[in-house]
């Protein structure tokens, strides 16, 4: 085993070293400056970009001087270039000054000051800068005879509009969800938290994708140590490409081998804002609407944004349902097997008879029945998700018919087993954040209780609990505020007390005592009742 590990390490090391060298060779070029000859500049740029088909070079003249625009088709907003760069350069500049200044330097100054009608631009002498920016959607403006280029922000490409996210649907609450565009996502967050304390740090990750990543937190609420830890861990992400925040999640997890996630994610700006306000750190990644939040503790699974938007009483009901849902989806199959195969006396006599009657003549033992039905359910679920909606529905209906009706009628499976499976499956949707984790837990418990009954069931749960308790997410114990218990934090675990009673911010994440509401506010009728004037 060890030897094998070494081997793998060696290979990966070699590979990464080689890659690094390549990168470094490329990286030598930051020192390479632009030439002061337009044609040479254009040639090198085209070579560097591999004469790609979407590369656009537009040559033109400003007065008598030659110039050229370099951009990538599809990344830029053409109307900006047409109306605010090309037109001004070619037409309007003449109107103001028919004979533009001959000298290159002065010309550049003139262009910068008088003609580029774009908000953001910068000047550079380095080829690499030009390339990276152009690939982001900037347009490079070259002037013949100058060893510098002006990079103008013309980013504009087709993107999805803001839509209601599919994963975290709410009845009451904001409906907007993040999109794939980082800039837009950040703006949505800004619109939620209009405070100068909102900090957004930028980072670029991915050797080839160069994905912009943003760390968001609120200064004064967040624990500095956690931010530092996040920076440190992001620093170590070294991978070819980052296509989704999941890539980063894999790198910054605390317990990479655990089945339980230690990094949270959300698709909604309001949820992210709430988490930041509780002292968490958000990691926004370009190209995906899923935003990572750390630290992530277990109880976040049962917290939904709607708990807080609805009145506290119904919030409590939702919490309880979610806890019940998790318990059912993880424990019920195991409990069923332990009861049926080991200790049926737990059930009332008449129930024992009923279950025995429906199991009579079933060829499979209860455990196998549970396993197979569970498998079928998961297959149906997966099939339903991946298919277009009408097909998905058809799949579910056919599937439901197959297991619900045909299998039961033909005596392949018993009806209690179908009921248990369906209940288990449906309950897993009650708290969907960790949907696939439940499958592992369910299988584990099913296995242990299939072989030793209730003893295995309880011991399995104990092992599971020990594992959960031993986890940490960015220094925060995973099971807090249950263990280590923090009774103040319980206001937001099993219950959801009214907002004015949730005085402190979650203690486990902040470590500092901080109040989030004015604790002297107690809603109620006014003390001096307003009397009706007669």
């Amino acid at each position: 085993m060890k030897r094998f590990k070494k081997l793998v390490k060696n290979i990966t090391n070699k590979y990464t070293k080689a890659n690094n060298k390549k990168l470094n060779n490329k990286g030598d070029k930051p020192g390479r400056k632009l030439f002061n000859d337009l044609d040479r500049n254009m040639d090198t740029a085209k070579d560097k970009l591999g004469r790609s088909m979407d590369l656009v070079v537009r040559e033109f003249k400003v007065g008598h001087t030659r110039g050229a625009l370099l951009c990538i088709n599809g990344l830029v907003n053409k109307s900006i270039i047409d109306n605010h760069i090309l037109e001004t350069l070619m037409v309007h500049s003449r109107e103001v000054e028919p004979n533009p200044v001959g000298d290159g330097k002065k010309l550049l100054q003139f262009i910068k000051n008088n003609t580029i009608a774009a908000l953001q631009y910068e000047e550079t002498h380095l080829l690499d800068d030009v390339l990276t920016k152009v690939l982001l959607g900037y347009t490079a403006l070259y002037i013949d005879g100058l060893d510098s280029a002006v990079l103008i922000n013309t980013i504009g490409f087709e993107m999805r509009a803001i839509e209601e996210p599919q994963t975290e649907a709410v009845v009451r609450g904001p409906r907007e969800g993040f999109t794939e565009n980082l800039q837009l996502n950040i703006s949505m967050l800004r619109r939620k938290i209009r405070s100068p304390e909102l900090r957004l740090e930028s980072k670029t990750l991915g050797r080839f994708t160069g994905t912009p990543v943003c760390i968001a937190y609120i200064d004064g609420i967040v624990n500095e140590k956690i931010v530092e830890e996040v920076r440190e861990r992001l620093q170590q992400v070294d991978i070819d490409g980052i296509l989704e925040s999941g890539y980063i999640e894999d790198f910054i997890e605390d317990a990479p081998y655990s089945i339980f996630p230690t990094v949270g994610n959300t698709e909604k700006p309001d949820v992210l804002a709430a988490k930041l306000l509780e002292g968490r750190v958000g990691i926004l990644v370009d190209g995906t609407p899923m935003v990572l939040t750390v630290p992530y503790v277990f109880i976040e699974t049962i917290q939904s944004s709607e708990d807080y938007y609805a009145r506290w009483a119904s919030g409590i009901v939702m919490r309880m349902l979610r806890i019940l849902g998790i318990l059912i989806t993880t424990q019920l199959p195991a409990l069923y097997v332990a009861t049926i195969s080991y200790n049926p006396e737990v059930m009332p006599t008449i129930l024992v008879i009923t279950v025995a009657a429906s199991r009579e003549g079933i060829p499979l033992p209860a455990t196998a029945e549970m396993l197979i039905l569970g498998l079928i359910f998961e297959i149906l679920r997966e099939a339903g998700i991946r298919q277009p909606r009408p097909v998905g529905q058809a799949v579910s209906i056919v599937g439901a018919l197959v297991i619900g009706e045909a299998a039961m009628k033909s005596g392949l499976v018993s009806s209690p087993a179908v009921m248990v499976t369906v209940l288990t499956g449906i309950a897993s949707f009650v708290a969907p954040a960790q949907g696939n984790v439940y499958v592992h837990v369910r299988l584990f418990l099913l296995f242990v209780s299939a072989v030793t009954g209730f003893l295995g069931f309880f011991i399995g749960n104990l092992v599971l609990l020990t594992h959960l308790v031993s986890l940490r997410s960015f220094g925060v114990p995973y099971m807090s505020p249950l263990g280590p218990s923090n009774y103040k934090g319980w206001k937001d675990v099993y219950l959801r007390v009214p907002m004015w009673a949730m005085i402190d911010r979650p203690g486990v994440i902040n470590w500092k005592k901080q109040q989030r509401v004015n604790k002297n506010v107690n809603p109620g009728p006014p003390k001096n009742e307003i009397k009706k004037e007669k």
Partner: protein
């Protein structure tokens, strides 16, 4: 990593090797409604009979009816001990008998008179059995009870359960489970008494059409035990007398003559009752005071010319009521004296009140009990007269 793999393998090994030992699928368990124990023909052997439930006949689910066959089947077998006989039965049924769900244990009179010690010990010792199981004595053979069909329920056990439950409406038989039975046995002085059953009637004649079931099971007073041995039987009246003293009469009917019309009878419904046994030692002489308190409603009066609003009528009814209760109590007392069985737990009451003097009575209790000086005091009250006042006179004009 290596360690984790080893651990996982260890866990898998242990768990998979652990399976199988106690694993019995629910449909393979022998579900039993009632269990009966009799004396076998061979000497010293026990004959066990049981009503095995056929689940599919009860919930015939798929076909809808399921009433085609009988829901239970009775098996019998003999063995040297209860467990021996129970395991022997598996030779016929092919299933291990599932004991926890057994709610009723019927013991034949013959076996009960010989002693139920081994059965009780087995029932307390086994890990599957429940202390909730109710003990009933059959006046005849237990097997006969099990073989009698009760048409209202598919499973005889459930019907018997309901019969025992219904004793609270007439209070004519005590209901004791294994725990209470053994509590009385363990006590130095008390004697257990538990309900007795009887099978009456004849097998139904198939040629005649009739809705009446041929053979019936009926609750018939109670059986009295001395330690583990049954020594006698109480009639229904005596049984209720005992229950009065124990304060366990929940409901029932009392028949009394109508005051002023001694040839006619009226009845009262018992609402609640309580009792107290007060032992007293005075100058070294022991006397027992039994106080019974009862509340009743008038439930019917024959159409005679009376005015129940007159206070002395109610007083007279009350008097008659007390007399009737006292009669029942005294009847049970004299029977208990005959059998020399302290079915009322008078000894325990003495123990509670006089723990210091107890030791000198404890040993002699068998000699003392029949000659105890017992005073019975009944305090009855008539609470309500029902929905009407006076009976409607036919010839009142």
């Amino acid at each position: 990593m290596k360690k984790i793999i080893i651990c996982l393998m260890l866990i898998c090994f242990v768990l998979t090797s652990a399976g199988c030992w106690n694993w019995i699928e629910i449909e393979n368990r022998g579900l039993v409604g009632i269990l009966g124990m009799d004396k076998a023909a061979e000497k010293g052997k026990i004959k066990v009979s049981m009503q095995m439930i056929k689940p599919s006949e009860i919930k015939g689910g798929k076909e809808g009816g399921g009433g085609a066959g009988e829901a239970v089947v009775v098996y019998t077998d003999t063995g040297n001990t209860p467990l021996d006989a129970l395991r022997n039965i598996s030779r016929k049924t092919g299933r291990k008998i599932f004991l926890p769900e057994i709610s009723i244990l019927v013991i034949g009179q013959e076996l009960a008179r010989e002693g139920v010690g081994p059965i009780m010990d087995f029932w307390r010792r086994d890990h599957e059995t429940s202390l909730r199981t109710q003990v009933i004595i059959s006046s005849g053979k237990a097997e006969e009870v099990l073989n009698t069909k009760i048409p209202t329920e598919k499973v005889g056990g459930f019907a018997l359960d309901k019969m025992l439950e219904a004793t609270k409406f007439h209070s004519k038989a005590p209901v004791n489970d294994i725990l209470e039975f053994n509590n009385d046995v363990k006590s130095e002085t008390s004697s257990p008494a538990t309900a007795a059953l009887k099978v009456i009637g004849k097998e139904k004649d198939p040629s005649k059409e009739s809705f009446s079931p041929g053979k019936k099971i009926i609750i018939d007073g109670s059986a009295v035990f001395k330690d583990y041995k049954m020594t006698g039987q109480l009639t229904e009246e005596e049984s209720r007398g005992m229950l009065w003293v124990k304060g366990k009469v929940k409901s029932g009917v009392i028949i009394i003559p109508v005051p002023g019309y001694e040839d006619k009878t009226m009845d009262l419904e018992i609402i609640r009752s309580s009792s107290k046994i007060k032992p007293e030692i005075k100058n070294g002489k022991l006397s027992i005071n039994i106080k019974v308190k009862q509340e009743a409603n008038i439930s019917s009066i024959p159409p005679v010319d009376i005015n129940i609003e007159k206070s002395n009528f109610i007083d007279k009814v009350k008097e008659e009521n007390e007399k009737a209760i006292k009669k029942e109590v005294l009847a049970s007392l004299s029977k208990a004296r005959d059998l020399n069985a302290d079915i009322f737990s008078i000894g325990e009451a003495l123990h509670e009140k006089y723990p210091r003097q107890w030791s000198q009575y404890e040993k002699r209790w068998n000699d003392l009990f029949p000659y105890l000086n017992v005073k019975v005091q009944v305090d009855a009250s008539i609470e309500r007269t029902g929905m009407i006042t006076n009976p409607l006179m036919v010839n009142s004009r």
